[in-house]
């Protein structure tokens, strides 16, 4: 185990996690709103924002799927040390992390009609995150909002499954935005 594995976690766990969660919650409650987070320095290729989300939400209770491009030794060791989240195949994941093209959407849990909350939350690493591009509408949005999304059809299909569906957090550098299943994309 490298010394780097031990570094890059929250300096002040409870307070850093509280600030980070408030930002993630704001993003999930207001789809399209881009927030800035701080506190994590994960190893490449993870973005700081993805590291913050992992530290804030993942622990031994949350099976995590890592896309092949991110299932590198230094990433796995960092996640193991800081969150102890067990890595798992896509079908059993509560969280999934990776770039858009490497995430097996069809294999991730969508929840059940009686427990729609038992669905995966995806942490999607994107190259750009801007308030332009796709049009978003739905709960949390006054009128419409805009967000650069890596796809359209997949999100449209996901919203059609409501109340089942996946929930997405897009991470880019130290910024993130969210797209819950309740948002209609066009």
């Amino acid at each position: 185990m490298q010394a780097a594995t031990l570094e890059g976690g929250f300096g002040d766990g409870p307070r850093d996690a509280a600030h980070a969660f408030r930002a993630v919650m704001t993003a999930m409650a207001r789809p399209g709103e881009i927030v800035t987070v701080a506190g994590a320095r994960p190893p490449a290729p993870l973005s700081a924002a993805a590291g913050v989300v992992l530290l804030t939400l993942c622990d031994p209770d949350t099976p995590l799927f890592l896309a092949p491009s991110h299932a590198l030794p230094q990433v796995r060791e960092w996640i193991a040390f800081h969150t102890a989240a067990p890595l798992c195949p896509a079908a059993g994941a509560m969280f999934a992390l990776g770039p858009w093209d490497a995430l097996p959407l069809a294999d991730l849990p969508l929840g059940t009609s009686e427990y729609p909350d038992r669905s995966a939350t995806l942490i999607v690493e994107v190259d750009r995150l801007d308030p332009e591009g796709a049009t978003l509408a739905g709960p949390g949005i006054v009128g419409t909002a805009r967000l650069s999304l890596p796809d359209l059809a997949a999100f449209r299909e996901n919203a059609r499954l409501f109340p089942l569906g996946l929930d997405f957090v897009f991470t880019c550098g130290d910024r993130l935005a969210a797209l819950p299943r309740s948002t209609k994309v066009s």
């Binding site: 409870p14 919650m25 939400l57 509560m94 009609s113 929930d167 309740s182």
Partner: protein, 289 residues
């Protein structure tokens, strides 16, 4: 302060609650099960709201706690003091100054802003529970969007009383999908459920968290010929004269004398500070508020 982890709960518990809150926001009106913890206060005293507040608070927050609209009741005072001690947050009684408001059975009169969070204490989260005692059955009814039983209940109200007599915990449909119990707020408050702030609901004993994101469509159930009506006592506040606020009725003597006054104490005090006076008002004194 140093004896407690920030906001009392341990970090793994907070992560569990936080994950439930995110799913609740993603599925507006759906009740997310969570592993409610024992808190240093009894069930029924707001343990669900306290756990949700503990999971969302940051050190810079200013917390307001109300019980039936009042900042100065035992429940509100002890919860406020709990977070002053365990989270070190500032507290206030002024709605406009608060960033997080925990409430029991009221929505403040002043419109809430986008940078505020309203946390409700919920006793029975399941709107269908008194109609169908089985959790297995009510869960199936939500899954199938089978809410006929609720409409039958409202219809029976009409056939028995000539109007929908449900006056609090009035059921709503959120974003056209889930029927939700807005907690026992008076139906006067139902129209305010469409607001700019994030609304989170915590039921400790029943172990459920649910949410309404900002600007989400919330419709009170009704019938075309018996439309929903947000009602209140047909009086003005005896202290501040307000005619637009929800009123409590207060018995003032043994002869059946009574007065009506704002249930929202901060709203009432603010109006009196601004010079408004009701029919039964004594001259306003700051420390008497």
């Amino acid at each position: 302060m140093n004896e407690y982890n920030f906001a009392y709960l341990d970090e793994q518990t907070k992560r569990m609650i936080r994950r439930a809150i995110l799913k609740a926001l993603a599925i507006p009106g759906y009740q997310v099960p969570f592993a409610s913890r024992e808190m240093p206060m009894p069930y029924g005293w707001g343990t669900g709201g306290v756990q949700v507040s503990a999971a969302v608070l940051v050190p810079e927050d200013t917390l307001k706690v109300i019980d039936q609209g009042a900042d100065d009741t035992t429940n509100a005072v002890s919860i406020r003091r709990f977070f002053e001690r365990t989270a070190g947050v500032a507290v206030t009684e002024a709605t406009a100054e608060a960033s997080v408001i925990q409430t029991r059975h009221r929505i403040p009169e002043a419109p809430l802003r986008a940078d505020q969070i309203l946390v409700y204490q919920v006793p029975i989260p399941e709107p269908l529970r008194f109609l169908e005692p089985s959790e297995v059955e009510t869960r199936k009814m939500h899954a199938l969007e089978d809410y006929g039983l609720m409409h039958v209940k409202l219809y029976e109200d009409i056939s028995r009383h000539g109007a929908i007599s449900t006056s609090y915990a009035y059921p709503v449909k959120v974003e056209g999908r889930y029927v939700m119990d807005p907690s026992p707020i008076p139906k006067f408050d139902n129209p305010k459920l469409e607001m700019a702030a994030i609304q989170l609901f915590g039921a400790g004993r029943e172990q459920r968290i649910y949410a309404i994101p900002p600007h989400t469509r919330v419709v009170s159930l009704d019938f075309e010929d018996h439309p929903f009506e947000a009602s209140k006592a047909d009086h003005a506040c005896g202290l501040c004269g307000a005619t637009d606020s929800y009123l409590d009725e207060l018995i003032v003597d043994d002869e059946g004398g009574r007065m009506f006054l704002c249930s929202d104490t901060d709203y009432c005090a603010g109006r009196r500070r601004a010079g408004h006076a009701g029919a039964e008002a004594a001259p306003f004194e700051e420390d008497a508020a």
